[in-house]
């Protein structure tokens, strides 16, 4: 297993996991989620091929209520 930092918390993942795999594990279809890995935005078309690495800092962001 590898461990990534997901929104500030440790998240174990099988080696070879992609961004799509991660989204699936947390129960998101990814349509309304922005994915930022080590300060780089990962666009939807790159998510199936982007492999997560040990120690990656992953942020998943959504739109919530705000003024």
């Amino acid at each position: 297993m590898i461990t990534i930092d997901l929104n500030g918390q440790q998240q174990p993942l099988p080696p070879g996991s992609t961004v799509i795999d991660l989204l699936s594990i947390i129960g998101s279809d990814g349509k309304s989620v922005a994915v930022v890995i080590n300060d780089h935005i990962i666009r939807p078309e790159n998510r199936p091929s982007h492999l997560l690495q040990e120690g990656d800092r992953v942020e998943l962001l959504i739109f919530a209520g705000g003024g």
């Binding site: 998101s28 309304s32 989620v33 935005i41 962001l61 959504i62 919530a64 209520g65 003024g67």
Partner: protein, 258 residues
């Protein structure tokens, strides 16, 4: 038709609605629909699988005619705001960004220096930059010069309901501005929104006044009507004020004045 123009976008509604502080998403969505708002603000938040219902992108996008205007709330520096704006654009597909940088949660006053710097960068990157600022005519002009699409001076402190406490400065900003002036923050009642529009604001942005009302959708509708009435009055041209009475009826050739 009298349309609000921001960049190449046009809107028939001049009420911009914020989506924060509502008791739940259903009430918020009802209020958005009732307001007729076509520009709606949202905030970026970290995804939390226990609070999946917080995700507003889908429900808001499903309302016809809505353009999202993400804000940079939570940023306390220009760098943080620029980062948030880039992520938000990726998510929303909208070029609109409300630049909101307030480092002090006690008063939520916008930081003019960080705001200026963030706006300068984001305007160069092609965003339609809508900065939330203090009612400062000099800053407003400087932001216009760096390519902001509008300026959004506060009427009074965020969520305070103190109305148009800055109206004297707002008048100067409106007079001097070559870009739309939108009052953002502090409004409590529809009459204040109407007043802002009569002064020549191009739009108003309201959140707390609707979200914290007894019946948010009804209040949203009231604001929409007030904004439309205020705009109509501005376009009609208000009469000049006079320091003394000016009769509306003839004062001669009547009764004892033959």
């Amino acid at each position: 038709m009298d349309l609000l123009q921001i960049g190449s976008y046009t809107f028939s509604s001049r009420l911009i609605l914020g989506t924060g502080k509502f008791s739940n998403a259903t009430v918020m969505l009802d209020a958005v629909r009732a307001s007729g708002a076509q520009l709606v603000t949202v905030a970026l938040r970290r995804f939390n699988r226990e609070q999946a219902e917080d995700d507003l992108f889908g429900p808001l996008s499903a309302i016809e005619g809505i353009t999202l205007m993400p804000n940079t709330s939570g940023a306390s520096t220009a760098a943080e705001a620029v980062r948030a704006a880039r992520i938000a654009r990726e998510l929303s597909g909208s070029p609109f960004i409300k630049v909101e940088i307030h480092p002090n949660p006690q008063h939520l006053m916008p930081d003019p220096i960080e705001t200026y710097e963030a706006c300068r960068i984001l305007a160069q990157e092609g965003f339609l930059v809508m900065p939330y600022i203090a009612a400062d005519p000099v800053l407003a002009k400087r932001l216009e010069e760096v390519g902001c699409a509008s300026v959004m001076p506060l009427g009074s402190a965020i969520g305070s309901g103190q109305g148009l406490a800055t109206s004297e400065m707002l008048n100067i900003i409106i007079r001097e501005s070559g870009i739309p002036v939108i009052v953002d923050a502090g409004l409590r009642s529809p009459s204040e929104a109407a007043h802002a529009m009569e002064m020549g604001c191009e739009a108003v942005l309201v959140n707390s006044a609707v979200a914290a009302a007894g019946k948010p959708p009804v209040m949203a509708e009231a604001f929409a009507e007030a904004v439309a009435a205020g705009r109509k009055a501005f376009m009609a041209g208000l009469m000049q004020k006079s320091g003394s009475a000016v009769a509306t009826s003839p004062l001669t050739s009547f009764l004892g004045t033959f």
